[in-house]
């Protein structure tokens, strides 16, 4: 009898784990989820509401895929994990036993105990259920005259864009003095502020939510701003002040928990044969300066790939490579490679270039003493992941990167290119004389 591996969570981390176990072995695999029958792309939830896609389109695999790959799917909520007997108990009190258990249970939206946070019309934007609820709460601008979004992160701006796509007026409350100001350098974050305002979203910076007021039916009717006491009437309140691991059901399981499920670099929990991956996993210590919890798609995928190796007798440490990420702020795409912090750390300097049209800019982070390239943020210009990854590995200098910037451009053909402007600005700022080299396929394809 093959070992039975049970995975709780059918998100990117759980599904990647299952796919890779199947590639490597014949083990029996079961994926459990309370959310949906099939894996879908959480990152695409917004596009369903906006009408770019239907739910069906967000499923990366056709329905036959699971059977063909002998991955069993079970739709149920796991109530408790009994590791002594290696059993799971479901909400309907039925049981399932496992030989190895992978927790890939993801996140849930943060709530900070605001008065009124559980009223009707107040919701997060994380799950398929949240999306269905939004469809009910805010089908159009007749049913919803205004929505207020609390929390200026990536999900917040997506929610703003979503509601705006149905012509619902949106007020966007951001605690920081500038959008995503804790992550983005001020030049970039300022540009995004203006872009949000230009997109007719009522962005309020440096404000906190005090409470949500109820109407006589227990529905949200307005929010109150802490700083000014201003009351903003609305029918829908979106809470998007970050997410945290979805681990309440594990409280008494004996599995060591912090903010998330504590794991070592092998992604093992304190209990033998139980592993955790994705949003819910918390490293005892962040790997290579990363945060202990990394709630992004890519890391979920990487952890899934890694733990599958371990489960198939090839014990492998989780070793994420150079940091990268991407997002889209309404119409402005953002990519990042390496590290750029909102303020340069000790010994680092930021070079910033912005296009006059105020929709494109880059920031490069450099180690001042050595000139070594540490990371880049790019807005409105696509860059080649593979090249930056290599440059980071090769520890190139920022001078080198600017000289070869054309190799890195990834915009569609015929797009206007800005390497010359960028480098001219760099030369002026630092009194250098760097010449941009023309694009070279040989360099692009050479290996690190």
């Amino acid at each position: 009898m093959e070992e039975h591996i049970v995975i709780i969570g059918n998100g990117i981390s759980g599904v990647t784990t299952a796919r890779h176990i199947r590639k490597l072995s014949d083990k029996k695999i079961t994926i459990i989820s309370a959310e949906t029958d099939h894996f879908f792309s959480r990152t695409a939830l917004m596009y369903i509401y906006m009408g770019h896609m239907k739910y069906e389109h967000t499923k990366p695999y056709e329905n036959y895929f699971w059977k063909k790959n002998r991955i069993e799917l079970k739709r149920a909520f796991v109530k408790t994990v009994d590791h002594a007997n290696k059993q799971l108990q479901f909400a309907d009190n039925t049981m399932m036993s496992y030989d190895k258990l992978v927790l890939a249970v993801g996140s849930k939206p943060n709530k900070f105990g605001w008065p009124g946070q559980d009223l009707e019309g107040v919701q997060g934007m994380y799950s398929k259920q949240d999306l269905d609820m939004l469809e009910k709460n805010a089908p159009n601008n007749k049913a919803c005259n205004r929505a207020v979004i609390v929390g200026g992160g990536l999900i917040g701006i997506e929610l703003a864009e979503m509601l705006h796509s149905r012509n619902i007026p949106v007020t966007f409350l951001v605690r920081e003095e500038s959008f995503w100001g804790g992550v983005l350098p001020s030049g970039e974050s300022g540009m995004i502020n203006r872009h949000i305002l230009n997109s007719h979203i009522d962005l309020r910076l440096g404000v906190n939510l005090k409470e949500i007021l109820s109407d006589e039916n227990g529905r949200a009717r307005a929010v109150v701003i802490a700083e000014t006491g201003e009351e903003i009437p609305c029918n829908v309140v979106g809470l998007t002040a970050g997410v945290s691991p979805n681990i309440d059901f594990l409280r008494d399981s004996g599995i060591e928990l912090g903010r998330g499920i504590k794991v070592n670099p092998m992604l093992e929990t304190n209990i033998p044969d139980i592993y955790a991956v994705g949003d819910c996993a918390e490293q005892h210590e962040g790997i290579n300066g990363r945060r202990p919890i990394e709630a992004v798609w890519y890391t979920g995928r990487m952890m899934g790939e890694t733990v599958a190796q371990t489960l198939c007798d090839n014990p492998t440490e989780y070793k994420p490579g150079h940091w990268f990420n991407s997002a889209k702020f309404i119409d402005i795409e953002y990519q990042t490679y390496g590290w750029v912090f909102s303020k340069p750390r000790e010994g680092e300097i930021h070079f910033h270039w912005k296009h006059p049209d105020d929709t494109k800019c880059i920031t490069i982070n450099t180690e001042e003493a050595t000139g070594k390239f540490i990371g880049i943020n790019t807005f409105g210009i696509r860059m080649r992941h593979q090249i930056f990854d290599r440059w980071l590995t090769e520890e190139r200098t920022t001078d080198y990167i600017l000289e070869h910037l054309k190799d890195a451009n990834f915009d569609p053909e015929f797009y206007a290119l800005f390497e010359k402007d960028i480098v001219a600005h760099y030369n002026k700022t630092y009194s250098k004389n760097i010449q941009v080299k023309s694009k070279s396929w040989a360099r692009i394809f050479s290996k690190a």
Partner: protein, 544 residues
């Protein structure tokens, strides 16, 4: 702004209704003299036929086109019935000579509609014929004005430049809803009329006679109507493309290119060639999409047209055998399918709102490969048979009658597949039904693209978030995401390089590009961000 679009829509629908309704207008009265010249020009010496036609359509009564057409066809049938009876009679009498003589008096069933069309063209009277300019304005004019009023406000309504597919799946016109089905029915009926009942739409040709005469000196045929309409629709819908993709230079340049090739190369130049008594030729239309290039009548006409004919003959062969594959090697199939081709041009303009309806199922991919390669084989066998018969004078080859296979291909593939289904099904099955499932040229280009080309869609390392926009908006039904999320480049024979997957990707994952063959399929080790050596600088940081 919004109001303007509604006004535009109303004007467009009025124009469309008048255009559609115009086929019911007018009276058709054939003059004796016209009939006589017609039969003489055709070289038909058949008194019975002349009599039948006379009594059918020169009655002094006013007829609409449907009665007129049915009377003409009735007369032709009676004529054929008469000779069929004689044939049967002589057959029974075993009088072979007499039996053989009768065949020349029969009219080929295929030619009924064409004869009816030609006679109707001579005999139309009434409002349309007398008010061609006004009718042009009420049909084409209102259609264009209405459509532009509908489209232009998008410049403001869509908001800042960027991908705006908002509401595509909430709109019954684009989510396979009732409007889409209505449009499908309209298009299908339109194509059936155009291909198989051209006499019914003879009024449309009256409307365009002045333009046709100005261009080529001849009267408008149904094909002229189609060509003109094609150009008009492409121009208007290109305006929509320019607005929708104004942030994307690739789309803007590409749209301009297909417009140029359609209007100048496919439409104007052939008309001008006709006016100069040359054989009309669309210089970009490559065999085997141009399936009748090697038909005997075309070869004869080219050979008999002196220098230019010969040039076309050589050009046509070089185009297919050299230019097409060499260009695909350098730029991918896209140089033809989404930069030059007329079918592609319509798909990328009129069809763009429907691109998301192409099926991404594995089943469709299998069906696609079966169908498109079958059509390619079909077209090649047909051409082989035709050429063999042309040069040897035989009437069939390897048991296949040349006329039969040509007719079958023309009707099944040329008319039904490429036209009725290929375009008619846009609203429900996506805008590349023909290009994806049927076009033999696409199959040929696809082989080259798949196996020897510098073109690829590069996947940007590990940046894909599996959102599915690329797959949803791929008009060729390619599951782009399936490759992108694995970090693999997309190298598929069917990709027409429209660039929309790259445009709609919210994470900048896809880039269409031409580069060295090495590294095309596996650019480097697939890079998803995992298992790269640690970043030393962070270690240094931690140490300090």
């Amino acid at each position: 702004m919004k109001a303007l679009t509604y006004i535009g829509l109303a004007i467009f629908l009025i124009g469309l209704s008048i255009f559609t309704g115009s086929i019911f207008l007018g009276n058709f009265e054939l003059k004796q003299s016209d009939l006589t010249t017609f039969l003489e020009n055709k070289g038909i010496e058949n008194e019975l036929l002349q009599k039948e036609l006379q009594s059918a359509v020169i009655t002094g009564e006013k007829m609409d086109i449907f009665t007129f057409s049915s009377n003409v066809r009735g007369a032709l049938e009676k004529n054929n019935a008469h000779y069929d009876a004689l044939i049967a009679k002589y057959d029974a009498e075993k009088d072979w000579t007499k039996k053989g003589e009768q065949y020349q008096y029969r009219i080929n069933d295929k030619d009924f509609r064409a004869m009816s069309f030609s006679l109707a063209k001579k005999s139309g009277t009434g409002f349309v014929v007398e008010n061609r300019g006004l009718m042009w304005f009420l049909t084409f004019g209102l259609g264009i004005i209405g459509a532009l009023l509908f489209i232009l406000p998008q410049l403001k309504l869509l908001g800042p430049p960027g991908i705006k597919n908002n509401g595509v799946y909430h709109n019954p016109a684009t989510n396979r809803g009732w409007i889409a089905w209505l449009v499908l029915v309209y298009l299908v009926v339109f194509y059936i009329m155009l291909y198989f009942m051209a006499d019914y739409v003879v009024n449309w040709t009256f409307i365009l006679d002045p333009i046709s005469k100005a261009l080529s000196g001849g009267e408008a045929s149904q094909w002229f109507v189609y060509g003109f309409l094609y150009c008009v629709i492409m121009i208007v819908m290109a305006v929509r493309m320019y607005i929708k993709y104004r942030h994307n230079k690739y789309q803007v340049v590409r749209t301009t290119s297909v417009l140029f090739f359609q209007i100048v190369i496919a439409f104007l130049i052939p008309e001008i060639m006709t006016s100069l008594n040359m054989p009309a030729y669309d210089f970009k239309n490559a065999f085997p999409l141009d399936y009748d290039f090697f038909f005997d009548w075309n070869l004869d006409s080219l050979i008999n047209s002196g220098g230019i004919g010969l040039f076309i003959l050589v050009w046509g062969i070089v185009l297919t055998l050299v230019i097409v594959p060499v260009m695909v090697y350098f730029f991918g199939k896209r140089w033809y399918c989404s930069w030059v081709c007329g079918c592609g041009g319509l798909a990328e303009t009129l069809g763009d709102p429907y691109r998301q309806n192409s099926s991404k199922k594995m089943f469709s991919w299998k069906l696609e490969r079966w169908l498109i390669h079958s059509v390619l084989v079909f077209s090649l066998v047909m051409t082989l048979v035709t050429l063999y018969c042309y040069f040897t004078g035989a009437s069939s080859f390897i048991g296949i009658p040349s006329n039969w296979i040509k007719d079958t291909y023309s009707v099944l593939i040329g008319a039904w597949f490429a036209g009725v289904i290929g375009t008619g099904f846009y609203p429900i099955f996506g805008n590349r039904v023909w290009c994806r499932f049927g076009c033999p040229l696409a199959a040929y280009l696809g082989f080259v693209q798949r196996f020897k080309s510098r073109f690829r869609i590069t996947t940007n390392g590990g940046q894909c978030i599996s959102c599915g926009n690329c797959s949803t908006y791929c008009e060729m039904g390619i599951d782009v995401r399936a490759y992108a999320q694995k970090g693999e480049n997309i190298i598929r024979s069917s990709c027409v390089g429209c660039g929309v997957c790259s445009a709609v990707c919210p994470r900048g994952v896809l880039k269409l590009e031409n580069g060295p063959l090495d590294g095309r399929i596996n650019p480097t080790d697939v890079l998803l961000g995992n298992d790269v050596d640690l970043m030393d600088y962070v270690n240094n940081k931690n140490a300090s």
